[in-house]
Amino acid sequence: MSDERRLLKRRYHEAAWDEPVIMELGTPGERGVLLPAVEPELKEAVGDPLAKVPAVMARSAPLALPELSQPAVLRHYVRLSQMTLGNNVSIDLGLGTCTMKYNPIVNEQLARSPKVADLHPLQDEATVQGMLEILYRTEALLKAISGMDHFTFQPGGGAHGVFTNALMIKAYHRARGEADQRTEIISTLFSHPIDAGAPATAGFKVITLYPGPRGYPDVEALKSVVSERTAGLMITNPEDTGIYNPHIDEFVKIVHDAGGLCAYDQANANGILGIARARDADFDMCQFNLHKTFGTPHGAVGLAVGAVGVTEDLEPFLPVPRVVRAGERYALEYDRPDSIGAVRAFLGNAQTVLKAYAWIRSHGAEGLLEVARTAILNNNYLARKLSEVQGLSCPYPENTTPRLEQIRYSWEGLHEETGVGTEDIHDRIQDFGLQAYHTSHHPFVVPEPMTLEPSETFSRADLDEYAEVLAEIAREAHTDPAVIRSAPHRSAAGHVAPEAAKAAAVTWQAHARRQEGRGV
């Protein structure tokens, strides 16, 4: 195959099944699956099962669910899956900050075992020793990786992990009688927006530091906002730009000196595994996204874990239950008066923890370092390639240190030259079989942003292909901008106007009502 044909998949077309919404499918009387029939003797013994249900609480109108046979249901969902560019199908390095990486099949197989799937969370401890041991062992692995003293896996995602950190900061100051005084959390603009959103939800006022000329706020900016009102610092590093703040330990010290706690959102940890640790910068707590850094799937936005680590001093505030070791046995501890309580029921996504355990064990210490080294090498290789693309730039040129595992690029130059902006390119890139990329969280401080994170999963050939597609689109911006603005052309559906979301219906019922002119 020619290089041109290999690098630019001009013949690519996503499956486009024009699959109806499932409410439009099926025929009355069809059925996808049966249940065991209720035994006649049992029926007879009970009589009318609805007899005791109060009339007002019994359903009167039958459900209007679709009626489909099993092959019809299977075909429908397999077709929908074919219209989904998961990372198993596409080179998904465009989702910067999301750390898309390979999710090993063997880990999926292990997690699907009935020895995991068919466990009830309230089984007696003696019957779940294997599961508890995996949770306990994974905690030990993350302790070594971060330097922190204790971990919980209860939070159900990165945002939830950051929120848990915010709750613990509250609980800590409350325990010291300073909750009413310490009401402010400091974060930075290029930290993930959850580092502002979560503390706000927990009742804090949030102060956001904007980046200086090197891409991160300077120490003086931080000094000017700390006070006796400071509850803590919630920050990512490297930030979502791939820029590492080298003064991070000074930041931590300044906040500590003011009486605040420091929470490290390690959503961007993939480039620093084995290279830098949260504890060595003196953080009090941190959180890792197991579904980013530790190779568990993103699952169409779910089955995530935000693993939260703390120092010994903060351990009493962790959510319950805690997995503890009692001699040769593993046990659950609930009786912890200073705990923030719980943010999820039971122990969270235990099956996801198992996958992360398997992922870490399959790499070992050298392998984790290899992950980080490769993520950084890939990022700098891609950056060098993209430096040749016209109209694309890497912001904060004053900061000449290499970026770590991702970069927030800017199409500002191309936009000024051609009027083609990042939202257009985001749509056009799909026509080459690549997932639409992440532009940026808001506000768009970097103009016309595009955030790329080529994790260790991606080969040199993948990086070459990605760069060539972006170069081609930049050329098109000069020769045929209309083809970009009206993209995508080879996806499961065509161009959507940006304002379409404002009036969208979120269920078939609301859509149908609107079609009939019956309001929202």
Binding site: E19, G32, L35, V38, V46, P49, K52, M57, R59, L63, L65, E67, L68, L80, S81, Q82, G86, N88, V106, L110, R112, A117, L119, L122, Q123, T127, V128, L167, A200, T201, A202, D249, H298, G299, A300, L303, A304, G341, R344, A345, F346, L347, N349, I360, S362, G364, I376, N380, Y381, P402, D427, H441, H442, E456, A492, A493, G494, V496, T507, Q509
Partner: protein
């Protein structure tokens, strides 16, 4: 073949192959990769090898090790399980497992309305089918679990009403109570309404005394934590409406083909748990919550989870599907938002949709009836035993009920004896609800045949004799 600079290859890291690496370094213009870490000051560098156990390099060694650990578990397939209390054993259709394992869904994340059309459409269909069950037309993407959904629903009610007090039942799962307290407690006052000692229903007199002009919402559950189909909930909704607050009702959707949609008896916001809909328990990792509300501007603007909407494309009659409410979340509003969304339990929402499509209206009806039949049969069978009573048994129960032992044996002793007979007995309530004495919460679903229930009754008879 890909391999690290130090020997054994890394199958998941293509660019660990030494020659590729050398070529990439040359292309970048460096000789030593250390040059790429210049941003990290030496004082922050981790120079010692991470203290981790040895690598299990081959798939076979890894799987052998993990399966060895898992072999210590005893599962609900191997034992006859009657434990519920927030996570329930149900039949999981094979097609649900098949779709959950589709790599395209499993490894997808954020994408455009076109590139991820399929996953988004599956989410939209889940939202639509669930809306049919609960009677509210705006449903969000699956979130963490029922407790988290209840907490976020209550925060949503506070924002909608501009009030800051919520009332929850005294009888509620301890997990959900902890979650609501943790999530809402810093910004909201959480009060508890008591229950009627005879029926287990909400105590409406107490509620009337609690509800006032500061009340943003009353939260109630159908069925309640103890499995009671609480006929006081419609009156509770009317009560809070009368004071300008909202009614938030938590439901188990497996009941909703036989029980009325909560919207019909006054629920403004409905939340609940999806795990019964085709999702394995996964030691609690099978849980996934949902939130539903009226499809009105003011509710949509306050939705705390992602909403997937139908988006018309440039081609007449064609639709794509995509996230429509980023602008009202912290992703855009940062600290101006008062709740947060993020990566939650999206895959389980898709699976719940597959389940509802497989079951259809007739299957869901059979499911609800089967659970009602089996629950009633179990209540009758166990309350017939000497030394056993079932409190609150006058009203209808769905899936769960309290079993009280007055034989002098503790629940712990009884459960230990049941375990010896291959049975996981009900959840011990004796510490949690001391007023109920030596009581346990038993759970019966469509997985429990008559023979299973008879076996439990026989075992208890033997143990209590």
């Amino acid at each position: 073949m890909a391999q690290g600079d130090h020997g054994t290859p890394y199958p998941y890291i293509p660019n660990s192959a030494p020659q590729v690496r050398e070529d990439m370094r040359r292309y970048i213009g460096i000789t030593d990769e250390e040059e790429l870490y210049a941003a990290i000051p030496e004082r922050l560098r981790c120079r010692q090898r991470l203290d981790l156990p040895p690598r299990l390099a081959s798939e076979h060694e890894l799987a052998t090790h993990v399966r060895g650990l898992l072999a210590k578990n005893r599962t609900c397939e191997e034992y006859l399980n009657f434990r519920g209390a927030g996570c329930w054993q149900h039949i999981v259709p094979a097609v649900c497992d098949e779709i959950a394992a589709r790599g395209e869904f499993l490894t997808s994340y954020a994408g455009s309305p076109q590139s991820n059309l399929g996953a988004h459409q599956a989410q939209f269909e889940f939202q639509s089918m669930l809306a049919e069950l609960v009677g509210r037309d705006a449903v969000g993407v699956a979130m963490y679990d029922w407790g988290a959904a209840a907490a976020s629903s209550l925060l949503m009610a506070c924002r909608l009403t501009g009030r800051s007090e919520v009332i929850i039942p005294e009888i509620i799962s301890p997990e959900r109570r902890r979650q609501i307290q943790a999530v809402c407690g810093n910004t909201t006052t959480v009060r508890a309404v008591g229950y009627d000692q005879t029926t287990g229903r909400l105590n409406l007199d107490h509620l009337a005394a609690l509800v006032g002009e500061r009340t943003a919402a009353v939260y109630a559950e159908v069925p309640s934590y103890l499995g009671i189909v609480d006929s006081a909930v419609p009156e509770a909704a009317a009560l809070v409406h009368g004071r300008g607050g909202l009614a938030v009702v938590g439901v188990d959707p497996s009941s909703l083909a036989v029980l009325a949609p909560p919207s019909s008896y006054g629920a403004d916001i409905v939340c609940g748990e999806l795990q019964p809909l085709g999702i394995h328990m996964n030691y609690g990792g099978g849980l996934a919550g949902f939130i539903a509300a009226p499809h009105e501007e003011r509710y949509l603007a306050e939705f705390p989870t992602f909403l997937i909407g139908m988006l018309p494309t440039a081609e007449e009659g064609e639709y794509a599907f995509g996230w429509i409410n980023l602008e009202t979340t912290h992703y855009v509003r940062r600290d101006q938002s008062r709740d947060f969304t993020g990566t939650m339990q999206g895959l389980w929402g898709i699976v719940a949709g597959v389940y509802l499509a497989l079951m259809g209206p007739a299957g869901m009806r059979e499911l609800g009836e089967s659970i009602l039949y089996r629950t009633e049969y179990a209540i009758a069978s166990l309350s017939a035993l000497d030394g056993v009573t079932v409190p609150f048994a006058l009203g209808a129960h769905f899936k769960e009920f309290v079993v009280r032992f007055d034989s002098g044996r503790t629940v712990a002793e009884i459960n230990a004896a049941l375990y010896e007979r291959g049975i996981f007995g009900g959840k011990d309530l004796s510490n949690e609800m001391p007023a109920l004495g030596q009581s346990a919460l038993y759970c019966v679903t469509e997985v429990h045949s008559k023979e299973h229930i008879d076996r439990l009754a026989a075992a208890l008879k033997e143990i209590l004799a």
